[in-house]
């Protein structure tokens, strides 16, 4: 470790290469095993074209599953270590950017108030400003933003420290919003913390990020691992538990593999302003959306561009105090996923961009695979049905003149072995993470070893039930993008999120009907496969019930996360601010706005 906080380049290089090669080798070996086992299974009744197609699909799917599993296993081998950085005064000027788009200003601006309070509580004299960058299109919400911004200024005595501007046009969406800030005001700052409207960060975490930027002059971007908070529904809490319990281990594996070509997830990260401005001006892609136009998943591209320009992009997974909120139901998750799907598939045009690092290109490929890999499973199921339909009848007398029948050798054991292996890739990393947490004491902050283990089992069960529904939404998204349908830019629904069965039916009846039609076709064409396909078909048919049930409040007492046992102070500050503000209505008197520049009072 160097004195400025950077990892030693040579050592890091060898370690990173070893990590990458290990995970690649494991994934390729798993894929080859899956491919060969399926070929042997298919050979039992004579190899045909369908068997080869299915073996290839199994190989590709297994590679993708193994890639994720190996990353998790790699993450178990080390623990995050904080770099040593000087704890002295901070010289650089920092802007904390809060892009908003039709969000509830009370909740969003209260986050700014909470973070400002949290920074003030550290006693720092560093220059840290907030810039609320509104792209809100709804005039009513925009007026409320203006009102609550004035309230925020008054509460925090923050004139000249907290800024607010609204763009007339939201060109380039979030990336354009950030770019607009850099081109107009970027010269006033050394660092910019980029947040989402639902981001919340501890003041001490923000200071530490700035210190790490100051300590490592080659660091262009530092990404934290945000934890999901405030989830209430069964689905939301499962996601929250997963993000807190499993994700840090997977992120550790990722951090070990990526070296200086780390990720940018679009928020809860800090950038060096001059590096970002010089390297990350995003062009509009030729052609129309979904593949042309503005770059949707801009964060991956910005990380790649920073790395291309020679800047280090780092994921510091040791940093706590970084939070975000997540969708509370499957439908909201699918809406967000639709946007991500379009953004990731758009990256196919950028894989061959000039000068990119190998890992950046591979990140683009992974992003695409994340959306098309589930289609391999769907294609495998379809190919299996077709294989049964078109399978030739068994030939018990393959040799002319030979009087005794020759029975095909059953290779069922290989098929079962393959199924066990695939389920193992899905389950093993999470189970090992749970065991590791129990043995290392990490589970204590999740309500104890037993609760964490049972939560893991319930999460596995729930994600298995939800998976076919998500598979259908993903499949639809991919087809929509491929056939040229632009998903637009819907605002995130950060509200209550509870869905009635009727609402869920409207959002998912097409999944139910597809599930019903699919199982009926299988029953007539390949009845032997019906039992095998029930775990996929049943959740599809029952999708409205699954969606509605999982959107309701969870009262199980499971899926406990550290932010519930020992809430981070900034979460409490945000709660207090929201409570105080929501206790008031939004009227002001003319007297309050009389003096030019005076900040008016919102009356209770």
């Amino acid at each position: 470790m160097q004195s400025d906080g950077r990892s030693d380049g040579a050592q890091n290089g060898a370690a990173v290469l070893t990590a990458r090669l290990s995970v690649f080798a494991l994934s390729i070996a798993a894929a080859a095993t899956g491919f060969m086992l399926f070929l042997q299974f298919g050979q039992a009744d004579g190899l045909d074209g369908w068997d080869i197609v299915r073996a290839v699909l199994i190989g590709l799917s297994t590679f993708w599953l193994a890639w994720g599993a190996a990353q998790g296993l790699l993450g178990l081998t080390t623990r995050p270590v904080a770099p040593e950085v000087p704890q002295g005064a901070i010289a650089g000027r920092t802007a904390i950017l809060v892009p908003v788009y039709n969000e509830d200003p009370v909740i969003t601006f209260a986050r700014v108030a909470a973070m400002d309070q949290s920074i003030a509580a550290t006693g720092t004299d560093a220059t840290i400003h907030f810039a609320i960058l509104s792209d809100t299109r709804n005039e009513e919400i925009a007026a409320r933003e203006a009102l609550w911004f004035l309230r925020l200024l008054r509460d925090r005595d923050a004139e000249g420290r907290i800024f607010y501007r609204r763009r007339e046009k939201n060109t380039g969406r979030k990336a354009g919003n950030i770019e607009d800030f850099f081109t107009r005001s970027g010269g006033a700052y050394d660092y910019a913390v980029i947040l989402d409207a639902d981001s919340l960060m501890e003041g001490e975490t923000i200071l530490e990020m700035i210190r790490r930027m100051e300590a490592a002059p080659d660091l262009g971007l530092l990404q934290t691992l945000p934890r999901v908070i405030r989830a209430r529904s069964r689905f939301g809490r499962a996601m929250q538990f997963s993000a807190s319990f499993f994700s840090p281990i997977f992120a550790r594996g990722l951090a070990m593999m990526q070296g200086s070509t780390g990720p940018f997830w679009g928020h809860n990260a800090i950038v060096r302003v001059r590096a970002f401005a010089a390297s990350c001006g995003l062009p509009e892609l030729k052609g129309k959306p979904p593949f042309g136009g503005h770059i949707l998943s801009h964060d991956y591209v910005e990380a790649a561009l920073l790395a291309r320009a020679g800047w280090t992009v780092r994921l510091d997974d040791d940093l706590d105090g970084s939070f975000e909120e997540g969708p509370e139901n499957i439908v909201d998750h699918a809406k967000r996923d639709r946007r991500w799907c379009q953004g990731n598939l758009q990256h196919t045009r950028l894989i061959a961009a000039p000068g990119l690092k190998f890992w950046s290109r591979w990140v683009f490929v992974q992003g695409v695979l994340a959306y098309i890999a589930p289609l391999f499973w769907l294609a495998f199921i379809l190919a299996s049905v077709m294989a049964q339909e078109f399978a030739p009848p068994p030939n018990y007398f393959p040799e002319a003149g030979w009087p005794f029948p020759v029975f095909p050798v059953s290779e069922s054991a290989k098929a079962i072995g393959l199924a066990v292996g695939i389920f193992g890739l899905l389950l093993l990393p999470k189970l090992l993470i749970a065991l590791d947490a129990m043995f290392t004491g990490r589970a204590r902050s999740f309500g104890g070893g037993l609760r964490a283990f049972v939560s893991t089992l319930v999460e596995l069960l729930l994600s298995s039930v939800i998976a076919p529904v998500l598979l259908m939404y993903q499949t639809r998204s991919v087809f929509q993008v491929v056939f040229g349908r632009d998903g637009g830019w819907p605002a995130n629904n950060r509200g209550d999120g509870r869905l009635s069965v009727g609402e869920a039916w409207v959002a998912s009846r097409w999944i139910s009907l597809n599930g019903l039609a699919g199982l009926s076709v299988v029953y007539f064409l390949a009845p032997g496969l019906v039992l095998w396909l029930l775990p996929v078909g049943l959740p599809m048919i029952l999708a409205p019930l699954v969606i509605s049930w999982s959107s309701q409040d969870s009262r199980s007492g499971l899926m406990t996360v550290p932010s519930e046992i020992a809430p981070s102070p900034v979460i409490g500050l945000h709660d207090a601010c929201v409570q105080s503000w929501l206790g008031e209505d939004e009227t002001m008197t003319e007297a309050d706005t009389g003096r030019d520049g005076a900040v008016p009072t919102v009356h209770a």
């Binding site: 911004f149 200024l153 970027g186 302003v273």
Partner: protein, 66 residues
């Protein structure tokens, strides 16, 4: 009533714009080259497809130079 509320809203918006104005400190953010394929990749792919050393004359290579 409606218009007075509307007027008040406009005043708040104007006031917020005034007191919330960001510091003026422009910074250039040049657009990056992303779509032209990498020269090396384009050459490698063209060689692979054409199986000859004449790939430098392909469109892909020319785009890479631009």
């Amino acid at each position: 009533m409606q218009s007075s509320e509307g007027m008040m809203e406009r005043e708040f918006v104007e006031l917020a714009g005034r007191v919330g104005a960001l510091p003026q400190a422009p910074l250039a953010m040049p657009k990056q080259l992303l779509e032209a394929p990498s020269r090396k990749l384009a050459l490698a792919m063209a060689r692979l497809m054409l199986g000859s050393g004449r790939a430098e004359t392909t469109n892909g290579a020319q785009r890479g130079e631009r």
